[in-house]
Amino acid sequence: MGKQYEIPVGAQHISLLEPLHFRFTTENEKIVKTDANVFYVHRGIEQACCSKFKFRQVSFVVGRVCGLCSISHTTAYSQVAEKLLKIEIPRRAKYLRMLVIELDRIHSHLLCLSHVAENSGFEALFMKTMQYREFSMELLEAVCGNRIQYDFSIVGGVTRDLKPEVADMILKRLDHFMPQLEELIGIYKNNWTLSLKNKGVGRISKEDAMRLNVVGPFARAAGLAVDVRNETEDLLPWKEVGYEMITDTAGDVHARNMVRLREIEVSIRIIRNVIAGLPESDLVTETKAFPEGEATVRLEAPRGELFYYAKGNKTQVLERLKIKAPTFSNVAGMVHAFTNNEYASAPAIIASYDPCLSCTAR
């Protein structure tokens, strides 16, 4: 056994997007042990949702939990509030929610991929991926009226309708994006420089992934078939619009990249099917009821399973709201997957987890 060194990374570090602290214990260059601290951005959102804001306003507050998966949070909260109010939302609203969630997934996955490329030392690919990602931001702006923080779902439905010209624009831009996606898949799959930093790095086995309760693309890359879209049908009809499970077996950074890229293909198919089969109905179910009882909701955010619990007591203000973000479930797996890797690979591994600390710490 050689001499051990402790290397802290974060809370502010050049390779980190958000405040996250790792303390690596290394032996020569090998990481033997990792500690993580993920609660640097606690903002007390849960408490604010249960005291300051009325239950209809909370969907806008939880949209500010995270910039990237804003729509997942708003939709999950809207669904849990609808369960408390015991209302069924119109079918068109369900389809529009799925459309925006999938558009959001495309932009979130491309952002993660670009950061993996950047942290692996491939700056040019980072710029290329970000360039191709721009179309999804513009589509989200056209659909929701804002590039981030869409405020699209409200309790009982959605705020805006999909205009026919915007639907045409989405289909046209997606057709334009398909060859670009193929080009990206080619680069991420075959590039030799990238493979040195990605193949066989940050590996987690299927058994460990299951034991440590890993979710999202991180788990699917290890061969664990977990996806809320595959498990629930009651709130959003995913299978109707052509959802397909994407898994890989390697469990390393490269496998995570490939899972994300192929999930973008699935998202594009879902968006096309949603636009082709958009049902005609109202957008919002109006109700004057107050939330009562307890309810839980699970939703597949870009990073994995998002969990919401709410308790109402027949007043305007909720009694309790609990958010469990996908990154929180992944922390144990993240810490585990560093073991026996080179310290120099750590930035690429961190980026490949796609950690979202604002969600985790709330």
Binding site: Q57, A124, C144
Partner: protein
């Protein structure tokens, strides 16, 4: 090798970014911008104030009962919840115009907090004044009624005495 040639080719390409100050960037027609207010249509129900998540709308009230609409674009999150809450079509509407930057002179944070408190105070004062006036009126009415009754009773006793 392919990558190498495409990299050389990229040197002669136009930049993909927009030349922003000289060219406009992409903006949809129904961009979520500033909230507009049409005073002549407003029915002063204050539902927008109740619905607004960040509290960017507040109504103040003077002693005659006339209400004034205040809106802070720096607090507003442009969600359009006020427009959906508005029962009167056209009184509140969302424009596609992005909010201009706030200047130091505007004192947009502290000034707004002060204004917000003052607006709530002014409403409380008006309500207290209204209550006081109502109580005064009730007292006056009661006094008038009592005086009338007393006068009637007086008249009755006078009649009685005159009759007696």
């Amino acid at each position: 090798m392919n990558t190498f040639f495409s990299a050389i080719g990229n040197l002669f390409k136009e930049p993909v970014t927009t030349k922003y100050p000289f060219e406009p960037t992409y903006k949809p027609d129904d961009y979520r911008g500033l909230i507009g207010f049409e005073e002549s249509l407003c029915i002063w129900c204050r539902r927008c104030e109740l619905a607004c998540p960040p509290g960017a709308i507040v109504f103040s009230q003077d002693m005659e009962g006339k209400q004034t609409y205040h809106y802070n674009r720096a607090v507003c999150i442009y969600c359009g919840e006020c427009v959906r809450a508005c029962p009167k079509e056209g009184a509140l509407f969302q424009t596609a115009e992005p909010a201009p930057c706030a200047l130091k002179e505007e004192n947009i944070n502290n000034g707004w907090n002060q204004l917000f408190d003052e607006a709530l105070d002014s409403r409380e004062k008006f309500a207290a004044e209204k209550k006081r006036k109502a109580a005064e009126k009730a007292a006056a009415d009661k006094a008038a009624a009592a005086a009338k009754k007393a006068a009637e009773e007086q008249a009755g006793t006078n009649n009685e005495t005159s009759a007696g």
